[in-house]
Symmetry: C2
Subunit: 194 residues, 2 copies
Amino acid sequence: MSKGQDTKTAILDEALQIASQVGFEGLTIGQLAERTEMSKSGLFAHFRSKEQLQLQTLEHSRRWFIDTVIRPALSAPRGEARVRALFDAWLGWEDVLQGGCVYVTAAVEYDDRPGAMRDALAKHQQEWLESIATIVRTAVDEGDFRDDTDPDQFAFEFHALTLGFHQFVRLLDDDLAVRRARASIDRLVACYHS
Amino acid sequence: MSKGQDTKTAILDEALQIASQVGFEGLTIGQLAERTEMSKSGLFAHFRSKEQLQLQTLEHSRRWFIDTVIRPALSAPRGEARVRALFDAWLGWEDVLQGGCVYVTAAVEYDDRPGAMRDALAKHQQEWLESIATIVRTAVDEGDFRDDTDPDQFAFEFHALTLGFHQFVRLLDDDLAVRRARASIDRLVACYHS
DNA sequence: CAAGTAAACGAACGGTCGTGCTAATTTGAA
DNA sequence: TTCAAATTAGCACGACCGTTCGTTTACTTG
């Protein structure tokens, strides 16, 4: 890897941390330069616009997400176990970033702001729901879930629970959050169980 | 009502709309002044600091929330009906503000930012969960829900569903969102039904 | 009508934002 | 070891931020 790519990766790592705390709009080039001990202009040259910095930071987080959530879950045995593994992996994902899941932050920031960020975000969101639904489908195939299970509906509720957990743990920073989330997923699974 | 209070209310109405779209940090005094056709300084005099503007905007939204969500729900008959009414009222609340529920936006903005806003927000959040739990408790008393229902757990899941709906409808702006949310609350209610 | 208060204004401050330039430095291959 | 290319730094810009100030206009009260 060339030196350029090397520092760029370091920049994006830091940018991801900042974005998770203050959002992608709050993410500032000056501050990022300070944290990476670079000059504003030197850092800026890597991206040539703030929007590019934001987009590439988002893309950077996608790789992280796949590595820490999707892939580990897929190594669990097919069926209900994999669904639960996915949920656990997501709970762990919250700990990777200091400020919690960047997608939650980003989604709120850009839901009313048309542009490339919003488009990218919507795509990621779709893919995430699709991933959940796919894993649920295998659970149906395995006979763990009822045949009339609607995988997309399950994905929606699954996703909603992660959002609820995120907000609960972040704002009320309660240990209860984990127990609440676990109880919820238990009930969700039980409800669709064959 | 004095003229001062009068314009202040008008300012807060506008501020609430802006905050729902770009957040409380994105809410800018200059822009707010422009939208209300006032001078920056004239508007600023009403609040004397940006934090005060934010706090009072938040408080303003609390009144709106009580009027459009809590109160209407409480006029529904006790029991399951009231729980459903609460959910419907919340769905309607999303339409009151151009940018969707301000609390969702605010929660994400301030979960990592200690200060008066975060404190106020956490309090509102607690009260909201408490309101849900209380209504659930009456449903248990009425015999609609099972005796072993955990009202706080129910409140958590209820709240999570509103968050899921919010994100789904805002980012994927899908008509599906309403159907998904309705189906979810149906399943939730069915699950706790006696 | 006069006096006094409340409300709104315009101009300016120091700061930070994103973004151009140009110059210096570092890197890696010939 | 040389040299072009890639990378970083320095400096400046216009725009907007929250905030302060002194002043002017609009109301209320005696």
